[in-house]
Symmetry: C2
């Protein structure tokens, strides 16, 4: 718990060590998670998502520089769920070269998925809490790609930015249906290229058809030229004010807490299977039967659950 | 089980009804899953994934038309995990307008994620088995987007095509690290646009650095002009032959069976929480405590697991 004491004083090295510890589930990580949960909750979490090529990293960079003017301590967590094997190291390298890293008020960390058993959102949540305890006042969680796990990751942010860009092809149209329900603020980035007004109109039209308690703002930006950044920051403040004054802020945080408990139950259940030699042996046997179609996986699952509980 | 008898005779309407049944977990769906599991296993499953805008749908379309020349029964499952709310209906509409639908030897189905509790890969697996029992000999599973859940979905295909395209921006570079380990065959689509040779070289270079028992083929294609399709089909046959002759085919199917059992255990555990009024009430209470930071989510999860098992 020495590391946590150091963390409370704002020590970045302690934060990095603790994140690595929970990411790799090193001995003692659960104690760390329990402790940082109780100490955290003050930071405001902004999720940034959108399709590849929409310029999320650049936008995040500019937003952070803008917020730094007011002296706020900022952290960025770059999540790359598409990189189950490398731990997002390439993305990490790209970000680590960033000049933001020279700013003592900014902490940057990239995270990839180490396994496939739902560990990434757990690790991301943990990193948010660790950085919160370190003293970060705004934490950006940026994801690469749009998929179900990315949605789950940004789902627990206080404010989610959906970054779109004109002309990314037909698939984007298909994706939009799902996207509309996710963003609290829509940013049309690279708004200086052809078709950006059409994209904006399409987004507005889709928002007309979707269900939102509060209609999301659509902001045009050219992040690389620092255009539209003030407006995005303003939209974030506006959304935060709405959340707080409507009571949604606390409601959403309760949803996050429930998601977290349910995820822990799932992860813990798997752990109970894989950590128990007797159950693991049974799993191997039943796997062969399921693969050869002499047993169905439901019956196999039931046998194993009975075995864990006995 | 009338529907299953109809399914065995190749009835498409029965297949559609059964897929809807398992997708929405309508009463009796588990019995259906148990039954189709035992009857299935003969179809060859090809996963198609890649970033938005890479032309996966067009490629799938051309591959299916090519394989239809040999008279094979084909099915396509288009999975849209980014659409948790609409059930992938927009993608579905796009595909349903396709002329392939007029071919009696082709079955097309789109699927979106209805919830966030791991239901999509379960439903996709079920759809594969149902279509297998219906008599589909090759089943294409196409995903929109690249993310962790998409990876999990194609993970259980026999052969996975990774479709890339030149010039999709920096994020693609970041994504590639993860992508390299996933594809059994790499297709550089839209190979008539600038930079395709460079993309091919980059892919080859990345493959040099990655771990594969058998080096994946890299095929150039312009799917929309039907170019390179024969080569992709040949690469699929080649990969299948490798799997069968090396024994990997059965090894991989055992991995799929194990994944499936573990996923069922997770889903069933959540069901045990949410379907039990007493446990659900406890969850609500503990959620409030976790949200107000008077309890940590690990302790809450443990209390609930003790309660399920008692």
């Amino acid at each position: 718990m020495d590391l946590i004491d150091q963390l409370k004083t704002g020590n970045k090295r302690a934060a990095a060590k603790l994140i690595t510890m929970v990411e790799n589930k090193l001995p003692g990580y659960e104690e760390v998670l329990k402790e940082v949960h109780k100490l955290s909750g003050g930071a405001y979490v902004v999720g940034i998502t959108g399709p590849p090529g929409s310029g999320k990293s650049t936008l995040t960079d500019k937003l952070v520089k803008n917020l730094r003017k007011s002296g706020k301590n900022i952290a960025i967590i770059a999540v790359d769920p598409t990189s189950p094997f490398t731990g997002g190291s390439i993305l990490g390298d790209r970000i680590r070269m960033n000049d933001l890293n020279l700013d003592p008020g900014v902490f940057i960390r990239s995270m990839g998925s180490r396994g496939h058993l739902g560990g990434l959102s757990e690790a991301t949540r943990a990193a948010v809490k660790i950085l919160d305890v370190m003293g970060s006042e705004v934490i950006f969680v940026e994801t690469v790609g749009v998929g179900q796990s990315e949605v789950e990751i940004v789902r627990n942010a206080d404010t989610t930015l959906m970054v779109l860009v004109p002309g990314l092809g037909d698939d984007i149209q298909a994706i939009k249906a799902g996207i509309m329900e996710i963003g609290d603020i829509f940013v049309i980035n690279k708004a200086d290229i052809d078709g950006s007004n059409r994209t904006k109109r399409e987004v507005e039209m889709n928002l007309d058809l979707s269900h939102h308690e509060r209609r999301p703002r659509v902001v045009m930006a050219v992040a690389i030229d620092n255009k539209g950044i003030d407006e995005v920051v303003e939209a974030i403040h506006e959304h935060r004010d709405f959340l707080v004054s409507s009571g949604k802020y606390h409601q959403n945080r309760a949803v996050t807490a429930k998601d977290e408990i349910l995820e822990i139950i799932q992860v813990q259940t798997l752990k109970n299977v894989l950590d128990n030699p007797r159950v693991r042996e049974q799993l191997e046997e039943l796997t062969q039967q399921v693969a050869s179609r002499t047993m169905d996986p439901y019956t196999a699952g039931k046998h194993i659950m009975d075995n864990i509980q006995s």
